[in-house]
């Protein structure tokens, strides 16, 4: 009985120590500031890509009107609160344009690091507004993008490479202080890392549910679609072994990120393979939006060289 008690006490101490070290060790914000710029550019591209269809979809005469959205969300409208909130509902064209370009300005400010604390939260709410307006338009990239912006709200990611930093530099110099490592930076970084690994796990496990990823044909079915700007399908068809090999590389690279991204020695290998596979998918299967989003998200595993302690081991 005494040994069991000792075991539980030891386990609690060990788990508590590991938990605190993982989530609450102060770390640099420098790499998250770089991530902020990459995520901001991506969010801008994503939001501006609505411009061409803004009025024809969401305007007063737009055809993704309330009838379509309600019919496509039948299960949700029976709830008291569906969890879908948006500011893009049937408004006058001028108001819709104003809201759209106001969001562009907010995202631009977030990317440049201007009033970053406020603009990061506003950027997150704005992106959710677009997602909730017509959730059936979203692909796999949107949940990753909103996740990145959402967690960056937690960290002081405007401390470096930002207009905020230029404003603050003078006051820091007079106070003769360097920017301190931050616990909230560690929390934000860890949340992104854990959430990202879950995304990779979902990607990997859902692929295993289909025969095409086992027989190595998945890349063929992706690349042969007519809307994909990929190489000549006849040429690809003459190289089935290469297509099989690349399909398995994609699968293994996702498993690699899940298993090895927590290990400092294997992490570069896992991220290298992941980068290669996302480039292959973009080139052969036309998954540019998802590939770009995942490559940006992968930046959270890279430690920026800095004099301050880093949050990742």
């Amino acid at each position: 009985m005494g040994r069991l008690q000792n075991y539980w006490q030891g386990l609690q101490q060990h788990a508590g120590f590991a938990w605190n070290e993982f989530w609450f060790t102060p770390s640099s914000v420098r790499d998250l500031s770089i991530l902020r710029i990459a995520v901001g550019v991506l969010a801008l591209v994503w939001q501006l890509s609505f411009t061409a269809d803004l009025q024809s979809w969401f305007g007063p005469q737009g055809w993704l009107d309330s009838g379509v959205v309600i019919e496509w969300n039948r299960e949700q409208v029976t709830r008291t609160f569906s969890g879908r909130l948006s500011f893009l509902w049937a408004q006058q064209p001028a108001v819709l344009w104003a809201a759209h370009f106001a969001v562009t300005a907010v995202l631009l400010s977030f990317t440049c690091g201007l009033f970053t604390r406020a603009t990061s939260v506003l950027s997150f709410l704005a992106l959710l507004g677009y997602v909730h307006r017509a959730p059936f338009l979203g692909g796999a990239a949107e949940p990753v993008l909103t996740m990145l912006v959402g967690y960056l709200c937690v960290a002081p990611c405007g401390r470096y490479f930002s207009l905020d930093a230029r404003r603050l530099r003078a006051s820091l110099a007079t106070a003769n202080r360097l920017p301190l490592p931050s616990v909230s930076a560690t929390i934000a970084r860890r949340l992104i890392q854990v959430h990202l690994v879950m995304f990779y796990l979902v990607m990997f496990t859902t692929k295993l549910a289909g025969a095409t990823w086992w027989n190595g044909e998945a890349l063929w079915w992706l690349s042969v679609q007519p809307l994909v700007p990929s190489p000549d399908p006849s040429f690809l068809r003459s190289q089935p072994v290469i297509l099989n090999f690349l399909t398995y590389v994609i699968l293994i690279s996702e498993f690699g990120v899940v298993m090895l991204s927590g290990n400092r020695w294997f992490r570069p290998l896992a991220l290298g393979a992941s980068t290669f596979s996302w480039c292959i998918l973009a080139g052969l299967a036309g998954t540019w939006p998802l590939s770009a989003t995942m490559l940006v998200a992968n930046l959270v595993f890279w430690n920026a060289p800095t004099g301050e302690p880093s949050g990742t081991k």
Binding site: S49, L128, P229
Partner: protein, 209 residues
């Protein structure tokens, strides 16, 4: 964060949040009754923060199912030889096709095609109705045919030739007449195959039978 109470509260929030992330992400695959019940409770939080990619069946990229092939909307105007393909001018493999916009159109057409294939006529008719309300003010006609077309790709190891012109490999999986009635209301009449239509008894005027 030296205060133990603050640290404990933050830890609790992290654990609850990550639990929601897990349920939101993994609740879209094969789902147990327990998962279903937990998901119902967490849905408002998960959806609000987009932790539940409810419509996103795309993490696996492909399982070579028919509904995952490229689809397109087509509007066939009376008397016109060629149908108008939507989105006009943005479908081809051009620079636009590298972006989020093309992906969005692709997702929309695929999901509408899936609803049509599943026989969810009401949801598809809403799309046709809304499209009619947008297009009729710009058109000279009070009627057009709305089509959903699905691409038919060749097998990797099959004997069929890879078609040079992909547009010829589309199969029309849904047709509906979209009409603007005299009251200015848009009506959608789905076209069905002869075998699917309600069968009526042959009658003759003489006997009334």
């Amino acid at each position: 964060m030296q205060n133990d109470t603050t640290r404990s509260l933050v830890s609790l929030a992290i654990i609850l949040h990550l639990f929601c992330v897990f349920v939101g992400l993994f609740g879209n695959q094969s789902i147990s009754t327990l998962q279903q019940r937990v998901q119902m409770v967490l849905t408002p939080y998960c959806r609000l923060l987009n932790l539940d990619p409810q419509f996103t069946a795309g993490f696996h990229l492909t399982h070579a199912m028919q509904f995952e092939d490229d689809h397109q909307f087509a509007v066939q105007l009376p008397g016109e030889p060629e149908a108008m393909v939507l989105p006009a001018g943005a479908i081809g493999p051009d620079l636009e096709s590298l972006g989020f916009r093309r992906q969005r159109w692709r997702t929309l057409t695929q999901r509408t095609g899936l609803l049509a294939a599943d026989g969810d006529d009401q949801a598809v008719a809403e799309v046709a109705r809304a499209l009619g309300e947008t297009l009729f003010p710009q058109l000279d006609t009070r009627r057009f045919q709305f089509q959903i077309r699905r691409f038919q790709p060749p097998d990797l190891l099959g004997t069929a030739e890879v078609p040079e012109v992909f547009e010829e490999s589309y199969e029309t999986i849904y047709r509906a007449d979209v009409l603007l009635d005299s009251a200015g209301k848009v009506r959608v009449h789905k076209q069905v195959e002869a075998a699917e239509a309600a069968q009526v008894r042959e009658t003759t005027r003489e006997t009334g039978r």
